[in-house]
Subunit: 592 residues, 2 copies
């Protein structure tokens, strides 16, 4: 994560610490201004991961599969060996509708886990694995930032333990076998024009969005239109993240629908191509969750990373469940804002698995509140308490959704940036308090756990109150269109949902095929409660138009696509790859 570096540490030395703050701001040995992420990460002294696992988590070394000295997978046998342990408490981190720069959800998740650990609690963080593609584009890495990072940061952002490569290989083996089937006589009578299964690559590569494959003559197969998505958009990624065992993984992969037959328009599944077993073999190691640590040696599970638009946007069930067996408090994160990531966390992940969060941290920034209050990006550094007040409409709706729709107690983490003024910060805390919700300024980016202990204490208090009573937004047996209606009206504040004719037809077909009981996965812009990214704040009475419906039969949800959803990013004119390099000593530079 990139974060504006403090030119002075004035906010750290504020004589009047905001309420709910821990008070004791310790700058400790941390450098000012905060150095680049990669410099902090590479300078960190890590605890050997096998030691950390044994001493902090009680995992037998035989149940760990090391990847170097700082990364390990908990073997599937190791996961099974933990089954009899009691589960810890789960804390979900979500956010206000984000600005283009992001609000620091991952950084806050790491900071909160470190804060809990600093209070003496047995805490862990469970996060998504970053995708390598965006590392070379604009977004950069996704292993936290500043003094709230998971490490080894370069490894986590690049090849890590090979999970994404395995997902790409499994996804693309299915494509190769499918095209091979078309080439060798097409016994299943697949209509090549109906193939929905795309190839994937873990890069930002716009030139691969729309391609024609099978050119060059008879020996090269059947020409057809195809395209590549980025790996995180693969249904295989969503499947891996929802699978609970090798057998469940294999079963889900077999259920994947790749296209339809010519004559009778029957769905063709991966199992019909007899490739799901080989896909499972490729993915067997990837199913085991990855263990690393934060800069403060808090254990961290980093595993799986499905998109938060066409997929459910949270880390793997294997990792979350394993973490809950290992720690008393597990902090996990869902993608985008609380209208998207948290809703899917509840309606897809919790529904499928029985997971139940005890508290929800909603990350907000003064910048995002001002943005929703009408300030444009270039002016976000200028103080405007009025804009903060106006922008509260967005955060307020998220808080009410979390509490009243999802049935979970929210806590606000105000992720403080150097440009935030004390008056703006005080206004946020005041407005949140007026909602009956705890709010804490958090400066973990600059201060590590010293900047998040107050937040951690507040989260513990909320958990202690025991008010969580998770509610789904819709029941299983509601028709798919009504499920979309329920999310749109109850969560987005919309008047209703319309379906474009093609989408309505597809929806009917999916229900006729027997998938009406599945949860839905809304693919909507993260920038607004509406489907129009320019509508800030808390728009009401808008209409959600579903233009496309996609079945993810293996993952087990039906995607409702609203607006343009990008499943293959591009690179900017000057991509980050231009500044990422090795120095003369072979050290990585330029990674952020």
């Amino acid at each position: 994560m990139t974060h504006p570096v403090a030119s002075s540490a004035s906010f750290l030395l504020s004589a009047d610490p905001p309420r709910c703050h821990d008070g004791a701001v310790t700058t400790s040995a941390r450098t000012r201004p905060v150095p680049p992420d990669i410099e902090i990460a590479e300078a960190a002294e890590l605890t050997p991961i096998l030691d950390l696992a044994r001493e902090r988590l009680g995992i037998d070394p035989e149940h760990l599969v090391p990847y170097g000295h700082d990364k390990a997978k908990v073997s599937l046998a190791g996961v099974r060996a933990l089954e009899s342990r009691t589960d810890g408490r789960l804390v979900l981190v979500t956010a206000i509708s984000p600005t283009p720069a992001g609000e620091g959800k991952t950084t806050t998740s790491v900071g909160l886990a470190d804060g809990l650990a600093a209070l003496g609690e047995n805490a862990m963080v469970a996060l998504r694995e970053p995708s390598m593609g965006p590392v070379f584009g604009i977004k950069g890495g996704a292993a936290g930032g500043g003094y709230s990072q998971v490490v080894p940061m370069a490894d986590i952002n690049l090849n890590f333990t090979g999970d994404f490569a395995a997902i790409a290989a499994a996804n693309n083996l299915l494509s190769a076998v499918l095209d091979n089937h078309l080439h060798h006589g097409n016994a299943l009578d697949i209509d090549p024009r109906t193939v929905t299964w795309k190839r994937v690559v873990d890069l930002n590569d716009r030139a691969l969005r729309d391609v024609v494959v099978g050119l060059g003559g008879v020996a090269n197969g059947i020409p057809r239109e195809d395209g590549f998505d980025i790996v995180v958009a693969s249904e295989v990624m969503a499947i891996l993240c929802l699978a609970t065992s090798v057998a469940d993984l294999r079963e889900r992969l077999g259920r994947v629908v790749v296209g339809y037959t010519r004559g009778t328009k029957q769905a063709v599944h991966a199992r019909d191509l007899n490739v799901h077993g080989a896909m499972t073999v490729i993915l067997r190691d990837a199913l085991a969750p990855n263990l690393v640590q934060t800069l403060e040696h808090t254990p961290a599970m980093i595993h799986g990373g499905p998109f938060a638009n066409i997929a459910h946007g949270c880390n793997s069930v294997m990792a979350t469940r394993t973490a809950l067996k290992l720690a008393d408090y597990v902090v996990t994160e869902a993608g985008f804002g609380a209208d998207l990531g948290a809703e899917k966390f509840v309606d897809i992940k919790c529904r499928a698995t029985g997971l139940r969060p005890s508290a929800v941290v909603v990350v907000a920034t003064v910048r995002a509140l001002k943005y929703h209050g009408g300030v444009n990006v270039p002016d976000l550094g200028t103080e405007s308490v009025e804009a903060v007040t106006a922008g509260m409409a967005n955060l307020r709706r998220h808080l009410r959704n979390v509490r009243d729709v999802y049935g979970l107690p929210p806590v606000v983490a105000l992720n403080r940036f150097p440009s935030d003024t004390d008056a703006e910060v005080a206004e946020v805390l005041r407005l949140v308090e007026a909602e009956g919700v705890r709010a804490y300024e958090a400066t973990h980016f600059a201060d590590g756990s010293d900047g998040s202990k107050a937040l951690a204490r507040g989260v513990l208090e909320v958990i202690e109150e025991g008010s969580a009573d998770l509610q789904f937004v819709y029941p299983d047996d509601m028709p798919l269109a009504q499920k979309a209606e329920a999310v749109a009206t109850r969560v987005y504040g919309a008047a209703g949902v319309t379906f474009e004719p093609k989408a309505a037809k597809r929806l009917a077909a999916i229900e006729a095929e027997g998938y009406g009981h599945l949860p839905i996965c809304m693919a909507k812009t993260q920038s607004s409660f509406s489907t129009d990214p320019t509508l800030r704040g808390a728009p009401e009475g808008h209409t959600v138009s579903v233009r496309e419906v996609r079945l993810a039969a293996g993952a087990g949800f039906v995607v409702m696509v609203t607006g343009e959803i990008m499943t293959m990013p591009g690179l900017p004119k000057v991509p980050a790859s231009e500044r990422i390099d090795v120095d003369d000593d072979g050290r990585i530079v330029g990674l952020s």
Copy 2:
């Protein structure tokens, strides 16, 4: 490797062991008939790799990067720490011109190293990493076979330590950055029609051979013809295998030529796109060589795997050099027959690095000799001493090339198959002896080191004689066309070389660009000394027609393409992926 399973063990109990044979054939605890490779491999008791490295090789654990308990990389710091050690002796394993089924070169390399170890020598084997694509096609895995395998076999054949995935990512990042450059104004004025850099994937996928990318409108870049090769065909693979340090890797990646400018037809390099640093970052871990073991706990380096046609076809320089610091005897393998793999080993790898083999093992089979003697594949199981005699022409030329052209002492390993008769085996041994070359029947597939000790003893004798005096086939300063002529006439028995007009023009351009000093890399069928795969035995007086010339400026050679060279295999009608699966206990089945 697949291998016909003995229906009876008659040949193992032969009352009259062939000459040069060790005599004591011990069947030991090995199962008859020989079980499938995966069953043997999964039943193996492995020595923890850190223990093996410390006890057998004296590597400090801090210099190892474990990948699980059975695989490790020797860190680049660890490689440097070995520099002051004395080098061991290098044994190159090559082969007769192979039949479609392959002659068991990898299996023999493993068996020989085990045989040397069984004789009490400090021996290692250094091999290429298998490509995952063919595992799901016809060929299957490439980690040896029977009781001569490297393990963990499934890991090695699948995702292993992620090297191939890193190579694919680095290769494809260059493609993405190139297309991004075209999209964002094309400041370098690259002519999209001249782009020679292809994308890669580690699968057999014919539909990707010829594609059009950049379709779908303005946002998706510039449409152009493109194609995917399999990862082992990537120049990045060849570069990784020839690089001697991170700095050398970076420098070589920067030299890669991706295409030419429109106006002045200047070469455009990866460094012009400023992407070679990021590619190096992706590949940094992959450069460190991988350490595993054989079924008999002989240490094995498995690292890198460039194609043997458009690339040089041997494992990495890093691995070979490291192995030579760790063991007294290192057995390594070059792709295809001795006309291709061994020639490139000598003229590319030895020339670039100073490596000098002490002996060359030429693997032959009765089946291949009969094939070269005119017997067709379906009849290879029927005894024919006459065909063996006739087919000796092929082996004879390889032996003379090794001895007289490369200046290295050959030893023949007759890799015995169950269908071979004693009379056929005796004839091979007699004919080879008539050449003044040692020959040994080897039954390591069924017997492990019990079946290769005689071969190992013979190799030690040859090394002891000290007759190796490596000669290049051509000097550096010879023009490129004459280098091709030298290989064709001296090694292939050809009358000469012709260049198709396009190839001749390209050759002239490459020399004009200053690459005339590079070695050449002949891309020729492995099935014949000629460029016609149907010409068996030892054809003479044929003409080698070069139809295309490719510059691999980063790898540092000029590829001369004769005939059709397949750089992206396809899948058969019933691919191996259909039988590869996990069983109810999550164990892999069907891998061979």
